[in-house]
Amino acid sequence: MLATVAVIGLVVFVAVVGLALGLGPPDELPAEPRPRPVERPPSAFFVAEKKTEVQMEILLARLEQHVRQERAAVEMFHDDPSAASLRGQTSSPLAN
């Protein structure tokens, strides 16, 4: 009786240890090899490109804002032409 319990205990122990070590049943398909990480160029390259792109967008937006403000200023000159209205200031950072 004691021997039977010992044998069953040993079998259970071996099964638990086998599972813990990742040993599957013999008919289990082998796991697909993990994809190797794709080699990428240094991330600084992409950071620099994105930064330039953003700077360009900001610069373009600033230019177009400048044009709008200048246009508004000269429309006042068009309606009431004078040396003073020609020199009216705007808040454009490109003009100050």
Binding site: M56, L59, L60, L63, E64, V67, E70, R71, A73, V74, E75, F77, H78, L86, R87, A95
Partner: protein, 161 residues
């Protein structure tokens, strides 16, 4: 349709013209949709049509070079009732700006050659159209001249302060 006729009658191009002559001129053209982002014409292209904006908004752009990259900068915007593409009626009939719909827009398109023929046949209407265009062109010239002088003034302040 009635809205379109009213908008054309009050537009920068056709204001001051009414009755059968207005009908004749509008029969020369047709409305066309311009989805957001679509190009109406590009700088340097042969200008063949004059446009009146019926709905939406159109950007007029010029190329500017920033750090060796060419970018289009919006220099003017046009909305309902405004005319654009008038280079089609004025030699050398080449577009001096590019035009692009900023949002989904609708335009009324006049083929310039047909319009020129109609204006020859109806000189009074032709005079009115060309007078309207002179106002548009003159205003543009005054604004650009003033903007140029303001830039020149800044250049003087920078270089000769």
């Amino acid at each position: 349709m009635r809205d379109e006729a009213a908008l054309l009658a009050g537009s920068e191009l056709l204001r001051g013209i009414d009755g059968p002559i207005l009908d004749r001129l509008t029969e020369l053209g047709r409305s066309a949709s311009a989805p957001s982002g679509s190009a109406l014409f590009r700088l340097g292209e042969a200008a063949e049509n004059v446009y009146v904006v019926l709905r939406g908004r159109v950007a007029l752009t010029l190329p500017i070079e920033i750090r060796a990259v060419q970018q289009d900068v919006t220099v003017d915007e046009k909305g309902p009732g405004d005319v654009l593409g008038w280079s089609a009626l004025v030699p050398p009939h080449r577009a001096t700006l590019s035009a692009r719909a900023i949002i989904d827009s609708e335009l009324f398109l006049f083929p310039a050659a047909a319009m020129a023929r109609a204006m020859r046949d109806e000189p009074a209407a032709g005079l009115q159209v060309m007078s309207n265009l002179a106002s548009v062109v003159g205003r543009r010239m005054h604004l650009v001249q003033a903007m140029w002088l303001r830039e020149l003034q800044r250049l003087v302040a920078t270089r000769y302060a």
